[in-house]
Amino acid sequence: MITFDVRLERPGFLLDVIGEFGDGITAVFGPSGAGKSSLLNCIAGSIKPSGGEIQINGTTVYSEENKVSISPEKRCIGTVYQDGALFPHLDVRRNIEFGWRLIPKNERRLDPLELAEFLGLTELLDRKPDELSGGERQRVAIARALATSPDLLLLDEPLASLDIARRGSILNYLKRVHSEFSIPMIYVSHSITEVVSIASDAMLLRDGRLEGFDRPSALLLGAAVAGGDIDSFENILDGVVGESADHLTTVRIGSIEISTRHQNKNSGENVVVSLGANQIILAAEQPTNLSARNILKGTVSEVWSNQGKVFTEVDVGEKFIVELTESALNELGIAVNNDVFLIFKSSSVDVFDAR
């Protein structure tokens, strides 16, 4: 657990945030220049704040009042810097092994070569960073930070220039690392899919101030409602994999069951599902003959609107948030306590490993 109360003064910019990060994966997002990297750098010790206090797992690593400022190498934090900061004079292998060599043998939990293998760097081990593509450099930075088996991992837009396929596999890998070694992670990203798929908590920074701290879905909703830059709200729910057949996999969420695309998962596995609020259609009557694989009956429990977007919360056993237009709301006569049907396609549902 990291508690922080950080003040950082810069000409034209003031970072002033108090909060804490739990032991899960916390996403930090916010517009460019909000202070995300600055906050991470303060925690890592690469920047000294102008004031405040930072504690990591109970240890005060920085305190203005007590004049404490533990040097970065003693903080056991792995950082993937936004600009990579690879060592230009060392080849990929030595870059990855740099921190790994410095930890006692018995604390080495991740093997550099396996990391390289996983991140598709095996053939690049003898290259210097200058001879790598942008995405390759990013992957080396990830490997280098992971190899130190840190107590805390700070990731500053680690996947910004990677293709979707790689992004997915690295995200899954990070989740696996997180659960296997319980390394808390703080993850800066602009990608909602990334945030939703990896993070258990999320923090929204704007202009150096903390604007929200919640579950990613709730925070995203808040931001969406506040007319922020978040395009759409995601329903995030915990589930358990059921049967797979016929290119479909069912996932049980509490008392209900939904269809998703085929997943390479075993029955009984815990998963998290994500479903965009704008991907759900509401019907007043039971629809028939639809291609959509999911039709769930429920009761409207809440309705609110903001800037032309209307949201309803529908309880089908679990609560789902649905975005619809005002005209649809009126036409269907949707109101609290009405019965409605939720309709969504199995391909609208994203399924992630549970953290």
């Binding site: 890592a44 010790g45 690469s46 060592f87 230009p88 004079h89 410095l102 210097k128 001879e131 130190t148």
Partner: protein, 232 residues
């Protein structure tokens, strides 16, 4: 000819000794000047740069005074060795070191200043202490300037004459270096021998330069962004 060899050997010994002093000392001073803020920084800067501003002869006299029986180095060495260092090869090495230190410090300083501090920060974050970071990150990245500084310092030490002859004299077999031997040959009218020794100096310089260039090729950053595929 035979004595030429021993003169060269002595010169090398003196220059190597001087380099062995200026390398760590110059690195320390350069690091202080470039990376630290402290009172008396400018004074330190001036003190190490002085020998460059003064004619070597003056440096020689100042040093002679310091190692003499009245100077603090002289008194220290008198109590340790029982004699002053004046007119010994150590005095020559000292003179060479002092005269080449400014060159070494400037080169090292510019080299250290060129290292991106973010990389040092990254190394610290990966668990390297400040000494290890300096040795594994800063130094290799400053490599080019460091070996340029060593070359300058070593070659300058090899060719040092003005200060050396004052403080160490020109005693054949004991303190006569190549430069003072050249001076002696010229004075004695033996121009051929003087040119022969000058040629030896040139050869030594060329060898040092060749080693320097070879080390440069082995530089951890060599070729980066340069040699590869005709980037322009």
């Amino acid at each position: 000819m035979n004595s030429d060899i021993s003169i060269v050997a002595l010169s090398l010994q003196i220059a190597l000794f001087a380099t062995a002093v200026t390398l760590p000392l110059g690195m320390l001073v350069a690091w202080l000047l470039v990376r630290k803020q402290f009172r008396g920084k400018f004074v330190l800067d001036v003190v190490v740069s002085l020998p460059l501003a003064l004619p070597p002869v003056v440096v020689g006299y100042a040093l002679l005074w310091m190692v003499g029986t009245n100077g603090w180095i002289g008194q220290a060495s008198e109590s340790v060795f029982g004699s002053t260092l004046a007119f010994t090869w150590i005095a020559a090495a000292l003179a060479a070191a002092i005269v080449s230190l400014p060159l070494v410090v400037r080169s090292f300083g510019a080299a250290l200043a060129g290292v991106d501090p973010r990389l040092e920060i990254a190394a610290r974050g990966l668990g390297a202490g400040s000494v290890r970071t300096f040795l594994t990150i800063t130094l290799p990245l400053a490599y080019r300037g460091v070996i340029a500084g060593v070359l300058l310092g070593f070659v300058r030490a090899l060719s040092e004459f003005g200060a050396t002859i004052v403080v160490a004299g020109n005693i054949p077999g004991r303190t006569q270096t190549v430069p003072s031997a050249i001076f002696t040959r010229i004075s004695a009218g033996d121009t051929d021998a003087a040119w022969r020794l000058a040629l030896v100096s040139v050869v030594l310089g060329v060898i040092a330069l060749a080693i320097h260039n070879w080390l440069l090729k082995r530089s951890p950053l060599s070729g980066v962004g340069r040699s590869n595929e005709g980037r322009r």
